[in-house]
Symmetry: C2
Subunit: 329 residues, 2 copies
């Protein structure tokens, strides 16, 4: 009997669905459009249909399959209530009872669980990735924004209301750059992939660097991959972008250590592909900002989740975590 879990990642434009084996490999996957029409019942029917198709196809591959459950990652997904609440980039209004609606579709499944995407990534790291066996660690996802998932004593930190772990929205520089949420100075405005783009253009302006490899890109098109490629070619502006991003991120991670003293902090997302360009200055800056009792103890590690599948894999990990909890009772 092969045991598998279904992972669902609800994004602003697409919903990715996959069947994941117990080693974190995606066996089959599919995508449906996350609707802009806001009709939740229609969406749930489409989602359930897609899940059923995937189950069917995976059972063709292997007849001896047990489906353990469904894990879902979604913006503003609330673990406690199984609801998505007022997610700014989804078309559904108010509070959507996602878990309940899916339970109606799949009454045979014992476990359907929901959380936000960064928490799901942290669970993926713990169940299948580099955080196996760790009881205290933190996951930062660096993308358009900065998400975070905190694990304390082996459990995700959900807080009293299910919404803990929005470390991207802590203040790094009071009165600084405007964050996507409308408040100035958040870590996300500096350390996300978009933040790196902003830093690049700040430096182009500062040095009037018409000779930089980044100077022929429009504001809209520049991304963290281009900055990495330019850094590899020795572009000074690009290299300084990584140094500054690392300096800022290290400051933020030091705060994280002063809160939680985790065994490791995992970084996930596009900018981490740059390896030492980002990890080295981040580590240096973090160490500089740490109290002596924490120095040279906390690891900063690249996530071991595969970039493309991480959201599905992370969501599916929720199922294993739930089953672990049920076993403990």
């Amino acid at each position: 009997m092969k045991k598998v879990a279904i992972g669902v990642d609800i994004g602003g434009t697409n919903t990715a669905i996959g069947v994941v084996d117990d080693l974190g490999n995606v066996m089959v996957k599919d995508n449906i459009v996350t609707p802009s029409h806001g009709d939740i019942d229609r969406y749930i029917n489409e989602l359930a249909q897609a899940i059923r198709e995937l189950i069917k196809s995976v059972k063709l591959l292997n007849t001896d399959i047990e489906i353990l459950g469904i894990g879902i990652g979604a913006p503003n997904g609330n673990y406690y209530t199984g609801t998505i609440e007022y997610a700014p980039n989804l078309s559904f209004r108010g509070v959507v009872h996602l878990v309940k609606l899916l339970q109606n579709q799949f009454p045979e499944l014992q476990t359907i669980a929901l959380t936000n995407d960064a928490n799901a990534a942290a669970m993926g790291e713990m169940i299948y990735g580099g955080a196996k066996g760790m009881k205290n660690f933190v996951m930062y996802t660096l993308g358009t924004g900065v998400g975070s998932g905190l694990v304390v004593n082996g459990d995700l930190v959900y807080g009293h209301d299910g919404f803990a772990g929005e470390c991207g929205h802590t203040i790094l520089i009071p009165g600084g750059r405007m964050c996507g949420c409308g408040t100035p100075g958040h870590l996300e405005a500096y350390c996300s992939a978009s933040g790196m783009k902003r830093t690049a253009f700040e430096l182009l302006v500062k040095y009037n660097a018409n000779d930089s490899l980044l100077s022929d890109k429009s504001y809209r098109e520049l991304d963290s991959k281009m900055i990495f490629e330019a850094a590899e070619k020795g572009d000074k502006v690009a290299i300084e972008v990584f140094e500054l991003t690392g300096k800022w991120l290290g400051q933020g991670l030091a705060d994280t250590v002063h809160y939680l003293s985790p065994e490791a902090i995992f970084l996930f997302g596009g900018p981490t592909a740059a390896g030492d360009y980002i990890f080295k200055p981040t580590k240096e800056s973090m160490e500089q900002h740490l109290l002596p009792i924490y120095q040279n103890k906390i690891k900063i590690l690249p996530s071991q989740l595969k970039q493309g599948d991480a959201a599905i894999v992370g969501a599916s990990a929720l199922v294993y975590k739930e089953l672990e909890k049920i076993e403990q009772i």
Copy 2:
């Protein structure tokens, strides 16, 4: 049978010891000098002697007493190892195996536990005070420094090494005031009682306020109580000290919420005696800095622990928490 716990608070100059009943009342208490000679064996003998005297005297009050254990709060106290590690304001060198040394003195006691003073205060709030029944809350102690104790899912956050919860040393204003630890810009440098004094003198300078009630105090003598008394008399500088302190503290507490989304944040220490002078601007600033999903949900509350006894009472609460854990196994 009356069950009691012993609380020990090890400070830089004094060690306070008390026998605490199950409602958090101190029945008897005593003080010994925390030595500057660094001789740990001599100190342990003196401490054990003082504890035995207190047990004797409490058994004279009530013959039907059961001693449940000893809880200790100490700077850099490590719960996992039972050691005090390199505490900057204690004379003991290196790593002191405090719990083991006390177990040798009291082999009859099942539970001897150690943590730092702010964690002990958080436990006091949870076992005897305003956080009864709360599973997710945070305690900030505002004194010479700023300590913090984080409670997640009903347990203190110790981190992977026992040292989590140093939120006073997170960065509030990069490059700002020098913190006692030697790093600029920490929350402690702004929001502690000493931080308030610094703010007062900054404002005296800014306004050249020779008419302020605070202008006849030396830098060394001014304290948060004097600032409160001046504010009550309408002193503009003193009132602005509270407004600024609240603005800064609220910014820091918003970060705390973005990390942990606690049900409540408790404030303890001298400055909290000023009531609305400090709570109102803190609350306003926190709300301004919160993401919408957290707004108007998180309480900021005064600690219900009695100022004078809180350290002993908090330390004794560790014993109840340990017994709770043993019962669960």
